[in-house]
């Protein structure tokens, strides 16, 4: 069984990678994700993994090498953050379009400019439509658990999509927390051997030519994209199955979202990542004052679990959607628009308001979340929605 240890999220990522023991890791250093590859390179140097480690010259080549290795039938992992993820952009779409189950540990950091190394979700939210599964983590334990489950989700024959697992830069990546680490045997048994796929090396050995990445014009491209979209829908079925299997084996259950005191709530917030921990404390304080507050934490953002989200939120009166991203669309953040859209079909639905917070690692405090709930309470009491979006914790 597992043992309790203290680790940062970067260490937990690296430890999970050691236990998964991938065939190939191709990675490039970037703050605040560098430690993952540093620690992993040491595992390679010490012979603790079978992995062929490719110290590539850029993130673009990291993802390109991952694509080559995964198309060869290997189990492949990498890690990055921010500008590194942005530099991979072109290859992210190609990895998912080629249906390669690559696993990527991502430490969320904002995007330049201005350059800043701290946490917000701009990097991975920018990559939200590139065909990757996206799983976010609240703490170090979830970072570790999500990484292990990601392998099974991505490699499932009905899915075969790449998957990125997120943790918050510095807040989690460099924060020591206690977590339960599974034994190597438990992880290896859980992830198993990757299901066999058609691949380049198999093709070479069996002398059966295969062409991957052909030019796909007007007469076939659409069908292939339609299949890819279906794979993302299939992931909606597979993710909770894997989460339940993980829970049955190890006691920690995972779904698309976490429902924190929403069932009878009048007002609530939606949040992603480490801020959920702080926000739960605020919910508890409000509950003590007799206010029916709740919280919805989104773990899986791609595929977008619209059924779960709208069913959990539809009976609330006011919902504040907190987001560590500025949409730069002159209107709202991405999550706000998607949650709005998922609720639109219901005649009775909550008032939604949007809060953008914590850009570039700006600290989010108890008082900030209390301020958000005060706005929600005011709307709840007056029935008046006087704004769509408010910025929290910024000088303006």
């Amino acid at each position: 069984m597992g043992i309790r240890v203290a680790k940062t999220a970067n260490e937990a990522f690296a430890e999970g990678m050691r236990q998964i023991n991938p065939d190939v890791v191709a990675a490039y250093p970037i703050t605040p994700a560098t430690e993952i590859v540093q620690i992993f390179a040491q595992f390679v140097a010490d012979g603790l993994v079978k992995t062929e480690y490719i110290p590539v010259e850029s993130e673009h080549s990291a993802m390109s090498a991952c694509i080559g290795a995964s198309a060869s039938g290997a189990r492949v992992m990498t890690g990055t953050s921010s500008q590194g993820l942005a530099y991979m952009w072109e290859m992210l779409y190609i990895a998912s379009g080629l249906r390669l189950p690559i696993i990527m540990a991502v430490v969320n950091r904002t995007l330049s400019s201005p350059i800043n190394i701290h946490c917000d979700h701009s990097d991975t939210f920018g990559a939200r439509d590139c065909g990757w599964i996206q799983i976010y983590s609240e703490n170090v334990q979830e970072t570790y658990d999500n990484l292990i489950q990601a392998v099974r989700i991505a490699e499932h024959p009905d899915v075969l999509l790449p998957c990125m697992v997120m943790t918050d830069g510095f807040i989690l990546s460099h924060c020591l927390e206690t977590l339960e680490i599974l034994s190597d045997e438990e992880v290896r048994e859980f992830v198993g051997n990757p299901p066999e796929r058609e691949n380049l090396i198999k093709s070479a050995i069996e002398n059966k030519p295969i062409t991957i990445g052909a030019l796909d014009l007007q007469d076939y491209y659409f069908e292939h994209k339609r299949q890819q979209a279906e794979a993302m829908r299939n992931a909606l079925k597979i993710i909770p199955e894997i989460g339940k299997e993980f829970g049955d084996k190890f006691g920690r259950y995972y779904g698309f979202v976490e429902n924190y005191k929403l069932s009878d709530a009048d007002i609530g917030i939606v949040v992603i990542g480490s801020t959920a921990g702080t926000a739960k404390e605020v919910v508890d304080r409000l509950r003590k004052r007799g206010i029916k507050a709740g919280l919805l934490k989104i773990r899986v953002y791609r595929p977008f679990p619209f059924e779960e989200i709208r069913n959990l939120l539809k009976d609330l009166k006011v919902v504040g959607i907190m987001e560590r991203v500025e949409g730069m669309n002159g209107f709202c953040s991405p999550l706000y628009s998607e949650i709005s859209a998922s609720l639109y079909d219901f005649e009775k639905r909550p008032v939604l308001v949007n809060f953008v917070y914590g850009l570039g690692g700006r600290d989010v405090r108890i008082e900030d979340i209390e301020e958000i709930f005060n706005h929600l309470l005011k709307i709840y009491e007056t029935g008046k929605k006087e704004f769509v979006l408010k910025y929290i914790g910024v000088r303006e």
Binding site: D23, V24, A26, K50, T51, E52, I54, P55, V56, E57, S58, H60, S61, S64, A65, C66, I67, G68, A69, S70, A71, S72, G73, A74, V76, E90, M91, I94, L98, L200, I201, S203, A204, I205, N207, P209, I210, T211, I212, G213, A214, L215, D216, L217, Y220
Partner: protein, 306 residues
């Protein structure tokens, strides 16, 4: 070296049905490079003429495992494949030798793919990189690249009233690759198949990163008469514009020396992109190129002597 009889008996691994232009040098290069390898091969290909013309889904001209992922990353993609092979081999999952070949045009090699190429060379993957150099971005319609010769017409270095085509010398990519300290660098042309096959055979026997650059006549972009493909590549050698040499562990060797060096105008006169250089008012430009070709040739001869 395999004789032409032996080569003729081998199954072609780049087969007909592709949509490359009549007279395209690249298809010949692909076919010869792959024929020269008598082991299982896995190849990557950068975006470009060869990729778009040979793999229009659901058809493929490649009778080998082949992958295209993007433009600038043929060398990075093959790094991943070769690494997967290494771990499978180490784990005892496979025991067959496989040869890894990355193809790229000059755009995907000299320009946008230079970083990935340099990285893969520095890491020393057991890969043969073959650049088919048609001296411009031909797939997108003849735009200048870092491999386009000085004063050549392209659609982004047009010949105008005040500018006589591309104003810059091309990069010396074989030298850049030699500077990486890789064990094998060579130049070749489709018009000397035995030289090309010999070089590929030599290269794949070496267990590290190898680089061969093949001049690829482009009847559309240079343009030239399609039946002149082989001949025109030989004239590039005879004029010393494209010397045939190899560099083994840093040691230079000419693999063919023209009996009588021809003037560069012999090469220019067969191609539309240089037509303006043969006009009397551009005699000084022609002379400038001749001088530079002479200088580089002498420099190469010196390197081969030592």
């Amino acid at each position: 070296m395999a004789s032409i009889k032996e080569l003729a008996k081998r199954d072609s691994r780049f087969v007909s049905g592709h949509r490359l232009c009549a007279g395209c040098g690249a298809g010949i290069i692909m076919r010869h490079v792959l024929l020269a390898i008598d082991k299982p091969v896995i190849a990557t290909c950068a975006t470009g003429c060869v990729e778009v013309a040979s793999t229009i889904f659901p058809y493929s001209s490649w009778k080998i495992p082949w992958i295209h992922s993007a433009f600038e990353n043929s060398a990075a993609t093959i790094s991943g494949i070769e690494s997967a092979y290494k771990v499978f081999r180490r784990e005892g999952k496979i025991d067959k030798d496989i040869v890894f070949v990355a193809f790229g045009g000059d755009g995907g090699t000299y320009d946008i793919g230079l970083q990935a190429l340099s990285g893969a060379a520095e890491r020393g993957h057991n890969v043969l990189y073959v650049c088919y150099n048609n001296e411009a971005y031909m797939n997108t319609g003849i735009q200048r690249s870092g491999a386009t010769p000085k004063y050549a017409y392209t659609t982004t270095s047009p010949v105008g009233k005040v500018i006589p085509g591309k104003l810059q010398w091309k990069k010396n990519l074989p030298e850049i690759m030699v500077a990486h300290g890789i064990p094998y660098v060579a130049t070749a042309i489709p018009g000397r198949w035995n030289d090309l096959v010999n070089k590929v055979e030599k290269a794949v026997k070496i267990d590290r990163f190898k680089f061969i650059e093949v001049l690829s006549p482009c009847r559309l972009g240079w343009p030239h008469e399609p039946e002149l493909t082989m001949e025109i590549s030989r004239i590039a050698v005879e004029t010393c514009i494209w010397p045939l040499y190899e560099v083994i562990e840093g040691k230079y060797r000419l693999t063919y020396k023209p009996k009588e060096k021809k003037p560069v105008s012999e090469w220019f006169k067969l191609q539309g992109r240089f037509r303006h250089l043969l006009l009397p008012e551009n005699a000084s430009l022609l002379e400038e190129i001749q001088k530079e070709v002479d200088r580089r040739w002498e420099e190469l001869l010196k390197k081969c002597e030592t």
